[in-house]
Every structure is written in structure tokens, then in C-alpha cells.
């Protein structure tokens, strides 16, 4: 699969839709494009829509997980949306855990989740700014 990867912006979030059949070079190229955009736009949220993927193997899963970790370092949370049932079952069966990833059913729920994560982060930052230590 070649050609430009369409990266969109929705309400301050970066959204990208992965579709069709992706070879490894394309996956890595997409990862680079997203990281560039997240860095450039200083966004606080990234949405990766994989509802168009009929298969996610260990490499693709690895890159997605890597992306989520890296965007977090840049100050943005990442939510994966639209993992298909057959793909979910296959990933679990393979033992690819992806436990640290935020996931949502669709873009709408994903954006809501990003909002909550932002608010949660804001609350933590606000508390950290106070001098008295917080005991949870």
C-alpha cells in the first residue's frame, strides 16, 4: 500500500484511520507520520481507528503499542478504536496482550475517552501543583 496517509484533526485530537492491507514498511511510515503530526501540533489526544483492518499481527500490534507509548511522552494520550471481533480474539489467542493501551468501540467513544483522560491528567497536574502532598 503506497501513497499519502490521511491524518485528520478532530476537536484538538489527531485521528488516523488504518485500512486495508498494510505491509511493514507502510506501518512504520504511518507511525513516523503520526509522530511528526503529534509533535508538530502539540495535540493532547490521538485516535487510531483500526476498524478497517481485517488482521492485526504481532508486528502491527507492536508498532501501535510503541506509538501509544511515544505519544504519551509527547504529552498526548492515544486511544485505539474499532478493533474487530475476529482481530480481538486472534490477538488474545496469540498472547499479544496490549494491556497498557486504551481502547474504545468507535471514534465517538474514543473521543469521549480522550476527554476524560485529559480531565484526569489535568486533575493530577493541579494536585501536583499544590504544596501539600496528596494521599490517595
Amino acid at each position: 500500500m503506497s501513497g499519502a496517509v490521511p491524518i485528520m484533526r478532530i476537536g484538538g485530537n489527531v485521528l488516523i484511520s488504518l485500512q486495508g492491507d498494510l505491509d511493514d514498511t507502510t506501518v512504520v511510515a504511518i507511525e513516523s507520520a503520526i509522530m511528526r503530526e503529534v509533535s508538530r501540533s502539540r495535540t493532547t489526544g490521538t485516535l487510531i481507528d483500526v476498524s478497517g483492518l481485517a488482521m492485526v499481527d504481532s508486528f502491527i500490534a507492536r508498532v501501535i503499542a510503541r506509538m501509544a507509548a511515544m505519544t504519551r511522552l509527547l504529552g498526548a494520550e492515544t486511544v485505539i478504536v474499532g478493533i474487530q471481533p475476529a482481530v480481538a480474539i486472534t490477538l488474545v489467542e496469540m498472547g499479544v496482550s496490549m494491556v497498557d493501551l486504551h481502547t474504545a468501540l468507535n471514534a465517538e467513544q474514543g473521543i469521549a475517552m480522550l476527554q476524560r483522560l485529559r480531565e484526569g491528567t489535568a486533575a493530577i497536574s493541579a494536585e501536583a501543583a499544590m504544596s501539600t502532598p496528596v494521599v490517595r
Binding site: R62, E93, M94, G95
Partner: protein, 141 residues
């Protein structure tokens, strides 16, 4: 007069370049659909095949390698058998490669344990300098 050309699903796919990885997935998907596999089993087979094809591209590049697929039968069970064969360097320690946690090449290991969990029968014949031959079988449920 219109002539209809029936294209059979390829039974053999050479594995040498990245586009071949996509071809392997497509061919396996086509075979799985033709064999009447449900979507979950199709996906498992294609994913397992993707892992094995990637292994060949990563660790046996330059060697002669291919995937061959055939329909199989055992009593009243029908299924698909896919053989990934290459004449690359071979795997020195198969047991380690098959055990979870074996990591090499910067990916999640060789993907063998994962692929093995997705299929019903898994067979690997390999030795240093003797190439590798992985046979996976998935039966129709």
C-alpha cells in the same frame, strides 16, 4: 461471445519481498474463505501466515522461499494445510524459538509461539544450514 476465465486461487506463493507478505495474506484469506472457514478462523490462519512469512523475510532473505497451500481431509474433517519453506540459515535452537519469551531481531521473537496458538497442527523442521519448513494445519469447525 463472452468467455469466462476462472482464476484458481494460487497454490504457491513465492516469498522474497514485502509485497509478497501481502500476497501471502490475500491467498490464505482466499483459501480460507473457499474452504468455508468462519471469519475468526480465517483471521487466525491469515495472521499465523503473516507471522511465518515475516520470519522468512527477516531471517531467510535471499533464500529460495515459498508458501504452498492445499486442502486436506481427515475422515469427515476438512481443512487447509500451509507449508512455509525456505532454504535459509535454519533455526539453531528450535525449543527456545518455540518457547514464549524468545526474543530476537527486535520483534516479538520469531512469532512462532503466537502462530502456533492460532492453528490446530503445527510442525517445524529446521536445522542450522538446512533451511526451515513450517507446516500449519487448520481444520474447519
Amino acid at each position: 461471445m463472452i468467455a469466462t476465465i476462472e482464476l484458481a486461487i494460487p497454490a504457491v506463493v513465492g516469498i522474497a519481498t514485502e509485497p509478497d507478505l501481502l500476497r501471502v495474506r490475500t491467498v490464505l484469506r482466499q483459501h480460507a474463505v473457499a474452504a468455508g472457514f468462519g471469519i475468526v478462523d480465517q483471521t487466525k490462519l491469515v495472521t499465523a501466515g503473516s507471522e511465518l512469512a515475516r520470519n522468512i523475510l527477516r531471517y531467510a532473505s535471499g533464500s529460495h522461499a515459498d508458501l504452498s497451500v492445499e486442502a486436506v481431509q481427515n475422515g469427515d474433517r476438512t481443512g487447509l494445510r500451509a507449508v512455509f519453506a525456505d532454504d535459509g540459515p535454519g533455526i539453531a535452537d528450535v525449543d527456545a524459538a518455540l518457547g514464549d519469551g524468545f526474543s530476537t531481531g527486535g520483534t516479538l521473537g520469531l512469532g512462532l509461539p503466537g502462530a502456533r496458538r492460532l492453528v490446530d497442527d503445527f510442525d517445524i523442521v529446521t536445522a542450522p544450514g538446512a533451511g526451515t519448513r513450517v507446516t500449519i494445519t487448520k481444520w474447519k469447525r
